[in-house]
C-alpha cells in the first residue's frame, strides 16, 4: 500500500492559500525573533501574505475534490475563504496601531491570525467531519491565545479563561456528536453520509447526535441560549481581535453547518430537527436585541447585536436552498465589513483596557474626528439595516428567502426584532453627533494610515454592495447552486 493515490495531481494548487498562510505565520515569528529591529514590517508583511493567499485562492486554485474525497475546492468555498481573508486583513489593519499604542506588537499576534484563517479554510473546504473538527480546533486554539494576548490586563486574562473553558466544553459536545454520527452512518465523510441519509430512517441515536452537534456549534456561533460567554469575551479581548472573533469564526461554522444540513437533506422533512434550529434562531434574535438595548458598553452592545445577527443568519439555514445559501454568503461578507469596522473605531479610543468603552466616550466624536465618526455612523446604519447600506439588502434577502420557504413566523420575529434594534444602533449615532461631550472626559483617538485604510475599505464595501448588490448576489447564487447539486 502506498500513499500515492491520496495525492491527486493539482493538490498543491488546491491547498496553496493554506500553505502560504501557514508558512507565512512561521516566517512572521522568525522575523520578530531574529530581526527585532525591523518590527515595523510585521504588519505589512502579514497583509502581503493575506493578499498572496487571496491571489492563490482566486486565480490559481482550480475546482475539484482532493485528498481522497476529503477536501473540496468550489466557488462557494472560494467566496467564504475570501471572506475570511478580508476579515483577517481588516483585523491586521486595525491591530497595527492598536498594538503599537498598547506597546505589545509581536510577530505571533499576526501569525495566530494567519493560522486561525487556515483553520477556517479547513472548515469551509473539509468534506470530512474529521477535517471540520480539526479546522475548528486550529481556529479555537488561536483564538484562546489571541483573546488573552494582553497578558497584563486582568480582563483579557479573564476573557481568555472564559473562552477557553466554554470552547473546550463545546468541543466535547461536537466530538461526541461526531462519534455518534459515525456510529449511525459508519463514516465521517460527508459524501458517504449524503448517500447514507438519502435512504435511511431516523433513529433516536441520530437525534441525540444532532442535538449534541448543534449545541456544540451553537456555543461557537454564540446562539442563545449558548451565548453567555460572548459579551464577556468581546469586552475583555483586545478590540481588533474582538471584531475579528465576532465575524470570521461564525462564518466558518455556518458554512460547515450548511454542508452538514445539505448532507442530511433527505432526512430533514421526516424529523423535527429544524424546529430546534428555528427555536435557537428565534431566541437569539429576541435575547440579543432585547439585552443590547440596555447596554452602555459599546463592545458588549456589539456582542449582543452579534448574537441577534447570528439569529438572522440561522433563519436562512432552516431550508437549505440555493438562494438561502446565497443569502448567508452575502450576509457574512457584509457583516464582516460592518462589524469589524464598528469594532475598529472602538479600538481607536485611547483608554485603559480594563475600563469599559461606554457611549459617553464617543459623545461628540462626529465633530472632533469627522472621518472616524462618519465611519462608525455608516457601520451603525448598516448594522441596523437601513438603505442604502449593504446591511439592508443582506437582511432583506434573508427574510425574503425565509418567507419563500414558508418560515413566516421566524421571519416575522426577525423583522420585528430588527426594527427594535434600530433604537440602540441609532443611539450610537445620536451620541456621535448630537451629544455634547462631558468636560475633559472623552478619550483621545489614536489612529493612523492603517486604521484609516481599513475604515475606507469598510465604507466603500458597505456602500458599494448596498447600491450595486446584483453582481455579488449572482456570484453567490451560482456558487450555491454548484454546492447543492452534488
Amino acid at each position: 500500500m502506498t500513499l500515492h493515490p491520496l495525492l491527486e495531481p493539482g493538490w498543491v494548487q488546491a491547498i496553496l492559500p493554506e500553505l502560504i498562510l501557514s508558512a507565512g505565520g512561521m516566517l512572521l515569528i522568525l522575523v520578530d525573533a531574529f530581526l527585532p529591529r525591523i518590527k515595523g514590517i510585521l504588519a505589512p508583511l502579514a497583509l502581503l501574505l493575506f493578499i498572496a493567499a487571496a491571489w492563490a485562492e482566486a486565480l490559481i486554485s482550480r475546482g475539484g475534490i482532493y485528498f481522497g474525497g476529503t477536501y473540496e475546492m468550489s466557488p462557494i468555498t472560494a467566496l467564504f475563504d475570501l471572506t475570511f481573508l478580508l476579515a483577517g486583513m481588516l483585523a491586521v489593519l486595525f491591530a497595527r496601531e492598536y498594538l503599537e499604542r498598547e506597546n505589545m506588537e509581536g510577530g505571533e499576534f499576526y501569525a495566530l491570525l494567519l493560522w486561525g484563517t487556515v483553520g477556517m479554510m479547513m472548515m469551509a473546504k473539509g468534506l470530512d467531519l474529521l477535517l471540520i473538527v480539526l479546522g475548528l480546533e486550529i481556529l479555537s486554539i488561536c483564538i484562546f491565545v489571541l483573546v488573552g494576548y494582553n497578558r497584563r490586563a486582568p480582563v483579557s486574562n479573564e476573557a481568555s479563561l472564559k473562552y477557553f473553558l466554554m470552547g473546550a466544553f463545546a468541543t466535547g459536545f461536537i466530538l461526541y456528536g461526531t462519534a455518534l454520527f459515525y456510529g449511525a452512518t459508519q463514516s465521517t465523510n460527508i459524501g458517504v453520509m449524503t448517500r447514507w441519509f438519502s435512504g435511511a430512517q431516523s433513529t433516536p441515536l441520530l437525534t441525540v447526535a444532532f442535538v449534541l452537534l448543534m449545541s456544540g456549534f451553537g456555543f461557537k456561533l454564540a446562539l442563545a441560549p449558548f451565548h453567555p460567554w460572548a459579551p464577556d469575551v468581546y469586552q475583555g479581548a483586545p478590540t481588533p481581535v474582538a471584531g475579528w472573533l465576532s465575524v470570521a469564526p461564525k462564518a466558518a461554522t455556518l458554512i460547515a453547518l450548511v454542508r452538514l444540513f445539505n448532507a442530511m437533506g433527505p432526512m430533514l422533512p421526516k424529523v423535527s430537527w429544524m424546529s430546534m434550529v428555528a427555536a435557537l434562531s428565534t431566541l437569539s434574535m429576541i435575547v440579543g436585541n432585547a439585552v443590547a438595548i440596555v447596554q452602555r458598553d459599546l463592545k458588549r452592545m456589539l456582542a449582543y447585536s452579534g448574537i441577534a445577527h447570528v439569529g438572522y443568519m440561522t433563519i436562512a439555514m432552516l431550508t437549505v436552498r440555493d438562494d438561502s445559501v446565497a443569502a448567508i454568503t452575502v450576509y457574512t461578507i457584509v457583516y464582516a465589513l460592518m462589524n469589524i469596522g464598528a469594532f475598529g473605531v472602538v479600538s481607536l479610543l485611547t483608554k485603559n483596557e480594563n475600563d469599559p468603552h461606554t457611549l459617553d466616550d464617543i459623545a461628540g466624536l462626529g465633530f472632533r474626528r469627522k472621518f472616524y465618526g462618519f465611519a462608525l455612523a455608516i457601520c451603525m446604519f448598516s448594522l441596523s439595516g437601513l438603505p442604502p447600506t449593504a446591511g439592508f439588502i443582506a437582511k432583506f434577502y434573508i427574510f425574503k428567502t425565509a418567507i419563500e420557504s414558508g418560515h413566516t413566523t421566524v421571519a416575522l420575529v426577525g423583522i420585528l426584532t430588527s426594527i427594535t434594534s434600530v433604537y440602540y444602533y441609532l443611539r450610537v449615532v445620536y451620541y456621535l453627533y448630537m451629544k455634547e461631550p462631558a468636560e475633559g472626559s472623552t478619550p483621545a483617538m489614536f489612529g493612523g494610515i492603517f486604521a484609516t485604510g481599513a475604515l475606507t475599505i469598510a465604507i466603500i464595501g458597505i456602500l458599494g454592495i448596498g447600491i450595486f448588490p446584483a453582481q455579488l448576489f449572482q456570484a453567490a447564487g451560482n456558487a450555491a447552486r454548484i454546492l447543492l447539486r452534488q
Partner: protein, 100 residues
C-alpha cells in the same frame, strides 16, 4: 467478544460525569480535567464503533482527538498560569471582573 453497547453505555456515563464536573466544580484545573474526561469518553465511543465496523477510520479519528486534547491542555495551562499571576487563584467564581 464483549458487545459494543457495553462500551457505549460506559462512555455515555463517563461523558455525563464529565459534563456534571464542568457544571459543578469551581477550580479551573478540575473543570479542565472534567473536559478531558468528556473527550476520553468520546475516544471510547469511536474505538467501540471502529471495532464493531472493522474500520480504521474511527481509530485514526482517536489519534487526532488526542492531539487536539494535548494542544488544548498546553494553551489552557498557560492561561491558568497567567490568571494566577493576577489573582493568586484559579477559582472560576473569582473571575468576575465583567458582568452585564
Amino acid at each position: 467478544m464483549i458487545p459494543t453497547h457495553y462500551f457505549l453505555v460506559l462512555s455515555a456515563i463517563l461523558f455525563t460525569i464529565g459534563v456534571l464536573g464542568v457544571l459543578t466544580r469551581k477550580n479551573g484545573i478540575t473543570i479542565f480535567m472534567s473536559i478531558e474526561l468528556m473527550v476520553n469518553a468520546v475516544n471510547l465511543t469511536f474505538l467501540a464503533y471502529a471495532r464493531q465496523f472493522h474500520q480504521t477510520h474511527g481509530l485514526i479519528f482517536v489519534f487526532f482527538i488526542m492531539a487536539i486534547a494535548a494542544a488544548e491542555a498546553a494553551v489552557g495551562l498557560a492561561i491558568f498560569i497567567s490568571l494566577f499571576h493576577h489573582r493568586d487563584t484559579i477559582d472560576v467564581d473569582e473571575a468576575n471582573l465583567m458582568h452585564w
